[in-house]
């Protein structure tokens, strides 16, 4: 296939690292950014995208998603998951290891990388498990995982219960310069909870997961990271106390980064009303006070990353009793609209800050050479509009799964074009 040049004309280019923020043209040649400037010329051999009135930013990098491949392909696979990601403006995604088999050895890492080469619409980076089988008993072969291509390690879905093992994981992983991503949850405190413990669980008669079940583990892991002087990334922060603890740890110089997800700044526990299993997620949706703290943490930089925690589940796993329902929601195809509607339009984050949290910071944490618009870089570019109104229709999702609590929500902001390695993958909101 002849690779044409691509000229992106007249877009509002925002890049967090170079500080570029204004109307520019971008020329892409042989998969790389060849030129960024004013009034670049179109020649006859050049593909062309008119980005007038739209933002042109580095492709989004999702530090936390579940592609369910291998093992749970009925929920999602690398093809469908990466297609969904591309439509959401993501050009790189890091997938969590709770597959079957689990990504706890180099062979599974290689399987994912090879399959992604053949089928994926975006760059796919596996995250390895901290412990073998994510059982929390013995460290997995972290060095081999890293050399096979894993970009971080995590037992996501489960905490590493043993403090001693977590300490060793941090020490051992930092030797290989690979970040530990911690799913913070004290399972003893969470007991058999299925939603946030609070007024809503009281009136629905459901067992609650207290917010302290998360925060207490955040505190432990921050202390362990400080003690070992190793980097740690806190996954899916959902509570006010977690934000406060992370802020405190950053002041003390702990090498901590943190992420939250769109649902934690968009919804509260009330979304569970009527036993709505689409709003069942772990950690659970919290209270207004927590949402406000998350938003403050995003604004002041305590929270570095917005990740989706895209967690596809089959209809049959959601259309059951609330207690029995699987936890999690799909997130790729709603992330940008939720960010625009709930963070950008109310003036909480600038587009530059969004680029930091969606592109630059996740790339840094995962050690990817991504998230920056600069001449010579691979052309991973996302173009979106912040004024367009859309009504979410889950049945139109490209993901195999439709489990989203945002169905029928009216939101602002739409991804128009996604360019991966110089190739237009999504054009005018259509996957090519």
């Amino acid at each position: 296939m002849v690779v044409l040049k691509l000229l992106i004309k007249n877009g509002h280019v925002v890049d967090a690292r170079t500080g570029r923020n204004g109307i520019f043209d971008i020329l892409v040649d042989e998969g790389k950014i060849a030129e960024i400037g004013k009034d670049l010329e179109v020649d006859s051999n050049c593909d062309y995208i008119d980005a007038t009135g739209k933002y042109v930013v580095p492709g989004f990098v999702d530090a936390h998603c579940h592609l369910r491949d291998p093992g749970y392909e009925y929920k999602e696979d690398i093809e469908s998951g990466s297609a969904s990601a591309a439509l959401g403006g993501f050009t790189s995604v890091a997938c969590m290891p709770n597959t079957s088999p689990c990504i706890d050895n180099q062979e599974v890492v290689k399987y994912i990388i090879n399959k992604a080469k053949q089928e994926a619409y975006v760059n796919v980076y596996p995250i390895g498990a901290i412990t073998k089988g994510q059982k929390g008993e013995e460290l997995s072969e972290i060095g081999e995982l890293k050399f096979a291509g894993a970009v971080a390690i995590s037992d996501d879905g489960k905490p590493v219960k043993s403090s001693s093992l977590m300490k060793k994981a941090l020490q051992y992983a930092s030797m290989f310069d690979i970040t530990v991503i911690s799913h913070c949850e004290d399972l003893d405190l969470a007991e058999e909870g299925v939603m946030n413990e609070g007024y809503q669980s009281t009136i629905m008669g459901l067992r609650g997961i207290p917010s302290v079940a998360e925060s207490i583990m955040v505190a432990r892991d921050l202390l362990l990271a400080e003690y070992t002087n190793a980097p740690i990334h806190i996954a899916h922060v959902s509570t006010e106390a977690s934000v406060a603890l992370i802020r405190f740890a950053k002041k003390r110089g702990v090498k901590v980064t943190a992420e939250t997800c769109p649902h934690y700044f968009s919804l509260t526990e009330e979304a569970c009303e009527g036993f709505n299993t689409m709003a069942k997620v772990n950690p659970p949706l919290r209270t207004k006070r927590d949402v406000e703290a998350i938003i403050q943490g995003l604004k002041d930089g305590t929270i570095d990353v917005i990740a989706t925690d895209h967690a596809p589940h089959h209809e049959d796993e959601k259309n059951v009793e609330f207690n029995m329902a699987a936890s999690g929601m799909v997130g790729f195809e709603t992330a940008l609209s939720l960010i625009v509607t709930n963070l950008v339009n109310p003036g909480i984050l600038t587009i530059e800050q969004v680029v930091e949290k969606m592109c630059l910071n996740p790339s840094r944490i995962l050690g990817l050479n991504k998230g920056v618009l600069e001449v010579g870089r691979t052309a991973d570019i996302t173009i979106f509009d912040i004024n367009e109104e859309r009504v979410i229709d889950v049945s139109k999702f490209r993901s195999k799964s439709k489990n989203s609590p945002f169905d029928k929500f009216k939101l602002k902001g739409a991804v128009y074009h996604t360019i991966v390695n110089g190739k237009v993958v999504v054009r005018e909101k259509v996957l090519l």
Binding site: Y199, T202, M204, G205, L206, R207, F275, V320, E321, F322
Partner: protein, 313 residues
């Protein structure tokens, strides 16, 4: 007047007017129940299926007799002996029952929200006979009926609900129903058995039984649900009885003509002493009778007009 919904899932969803309407209808049904000829044609040509995923004697029997007294065809599905044991999903089981021409499905289930899940998936009316820790609306209706029968009204009465509120669907339904009818509801129990932020429902929460009992018009003891109890919520039954049990001495803190209710079955000597259970204030036996009347009323109201309901104006 009619009920707004196709189903009775809980008292949280009902208006004061709907609750009063059910109670009024139950009065008539009680006359039938106490007459010599316990047979009415109200449910003739209708069918009622009870689908119980938890053990029950009184509630299931109460529904079954209520349907039979009114001429309905009734059948019981006991979860363990049916296809449920083969792993059939709740929705599939409910749809199967629905397809057999069932007018009312009465369900008891250990998980909160199970009745609303099936209500969304069947044509039949669904009555919640207890779902997890969520609601047990017919129990609360019979409790309220029993109180009003004695006191004439709930408005302005102080009702003390004592014990394991956390696990109690009876407490939740009573809180919704009684506060809607104007009662002042107080609860007391060990801190580990009180659900968080309960006061936001409009009740007063006390940590000692004594405070809750002072000048109460009605006292409701709740069963310590040993089968639901996770260890560590309270140290021992002995200590529970000492600090939270209802005995004659404590009951004296309430008004002289206090009414004592208990949803049963009672753990004698734990939440209530035997002398209190069998004492002059106890309405435990009346509650059972009234349960049948209330369920007759509900079955009638939900099956009227061929199973479809007008929206109340």
């Amino acid at each position: 007047m009619s009920l707004k919904g196709k189903d009775l899932l809980g008292l949280r969803d009902l208006s004061r007017e709907e609750i009063e309407y059910i109670l009024d209808t139950a009065k008539t049904m009680k006359l039938v129940l106490l007459s010599n000829n316990k047979k009415t044609p109200h449910l003739q040509g209708k069918s009622v299926v009870t689908l119980f995923y938890e053990n029950s004697t009184r509630t299931r029997l109460s529904f079954e007799l209520a349907s039979k007294y009114m001429g309905a065809s009734s059948a019981n599905v006991v979860a363990s002996s049916s296809s449920v044991a083969k792993g059939e999903s709740l929705i599939d089981t409910a749809r199967t029952i629905d397809q057999m021409g069932t007018d009312v499905i009465v369900i008891r289930h250990p998980m909160a929200g199970a009745p609303s899940l099936i209500a969304r998936n069947v044509k039949a009316s669904v009555i919640n006979a207890g779902d997890g820790m969520n609601e047990h609306p017919t129990q609360a209706l019979l409790d309220i009926f029993t109180i009003i029968e004695k006191k004439g009204t709930l408005n302005g009465l102080k009702v003390a609900i004592i014990g394991d509120i956390y696990h109690s669907r009876v407490a939740r339904s009573n809180i919704w129903g009684m506060t809607k009818l104007g009662a002042e509801v107080c609860v007391a129990g060990p801190a580990t058995l009180l659900p968080p932020q309960l006061e936001k429902t409009g009740v007063k929460v006390y940590s000692t039984v004594q405070e809750a009992l002072i000048d109460a018009d009605v006292v409701m003891g709740l069963r310590i649900q040993l089968e639901r109890q996770k260890s560590g919520l309270f140290p021992s039954l002995r200590e529970y009885a000492r600090f939270f049990g209802l005995d004659e001495k404590r009951l004296k803190l309430a008004k002289k003509d206090v009414l004592l209710l208990h949803p049963g079955p009672v753990n004698r000597g734990v939440e209530l002493t035997t002398s209190v259970i069998d004492g002059e204030h106890s309405l435990i036996n009346e509650q059972v009778t009234n349960g049948v009347a209330v369920r007759m009323a509900l079955l009638y109201l939900l099956t009227r007009k061929g199973g479809s309901f007008e929206t109340a104006n």
